[in-house]
Amino acid sequence: MFLVSQEFVESTHGGLGCIACHGGENVPDQAAAHAGMDSYPSRDFEANCGACHANVTGDYATSIHYNLHGMANGLIEFTDVSSLSDSPHHEEVFDNDCYKCHATCGDCHVSRAKNFSEGLVDQHNFLGTPSMEENCYACHNARNAGEYMGLVGFGGDVHYEKGMTCMDCHPKSNFHGDSSIEVSYNMWEEDLPSCLDCHEDKDPEVATDVEHKVHGDSLSCQVCHAQANNNCFECHLDEKADGSGLGSSSEKKIMFRVGYNPLVSEERPYKYVTLRHVPGQENMLEVVGDNLMPKYNTKTNWKYSPTHNIQKSTFQNESCESCHENTKIWLSEKDFRETDSTLNETLIPDLPPPLQ
């Protein structure tokens, strides 16, 4: 598990000597050698990595992989506090459950993530480009990475089948952060990839095929080209059976639903988008306190989903009828549960116009 290759020993990082980053003592006795050593030196990334990589570490505190602001702000928006530190209960939830996905340099470039059985990806060799299978998938397994690789849902993404990795679309700033960006809610303000970055000829303004011209900006690309995605319901937080802290559990369901765009923006002006039900219910935090989500009904549980299992041909784009006359794919009251936010109703779309 912690076998180190000779190749690493002879590399630039290996040349520093293990103790330079990990501490400990250079003595033959195992216990004495490991006394005081730090198995996770990039926890202090500014000191240990920043000496050479200041151009990266300088911005890293702004990365949502580090600060998890997307998750923190997602939790805060259901509460009546403006910061997790204002509420010990919410902070406890975040630190015990959400924070396990917090990552620093080593979690992507050297090791597998803590929640993915730890260990080294490649015998301590530093990977300039992290492993999609062992790093990205470790944390994003239930949704985007799992769906992209065909391990969740019905089929993988055509871009994955053609050999593309997460890093082929997502710019470095999505991982390393960008201090010029103010992330207010989640990562929507980041410099995210767009299908049109590569598929310029499918821009409705220049497209020559009828499908892309006629739908214009009404539909996100995923409405026609994504497959079913993983939806989580009835999330609840409980004490772990082994007493090691708090853990969440939820019911999962592979579904495909299209509804009104809950997050219209200049970059994503679409009227209809693919939706994903995210985990949550009003009493999900009752294990740590009462009424911890007082603003629960001011946000929807069905969220904009840039589903990552794209295919050119899907069941809903097989013909005009397979979408326009297929009422099963459109979000409806039948999809709602008693525990859902009442605001979900605003996402139920009018059915598409009948075909001439």
């Binding site: 598990m1 000597g17 330079a20 050698a33 000496a51 993915f116 944390c139 994003h140």
Partner: protein, 88 residues
Amino acid sequence: MSKPKIFNNWISSLVIVGVIGIAALGIYQFGIAPGLPEEDYTAVGGEDKPFEFETVDSSSCIACHTNEAIIAASTKGQDEPAAEDTGG
């Protein structure tokens, strides 16, 4: 002393001076001081500086951690789950 006739044409003069200059640079680079140009270092903390870290002797660590038999005998991490669904 009269100059060679070839220098009566200014273009010829320019070519000859150029050829001599390039030849001199070649003799210096490959004969007198062979090697690559001085390394450029990535700016760190706003300054250009060389890799300044010295090796910390870690021969004991390396002796064990590069030995497959020793690491295979370790029980560290064996009680960890193979993977955990993070819900992420």
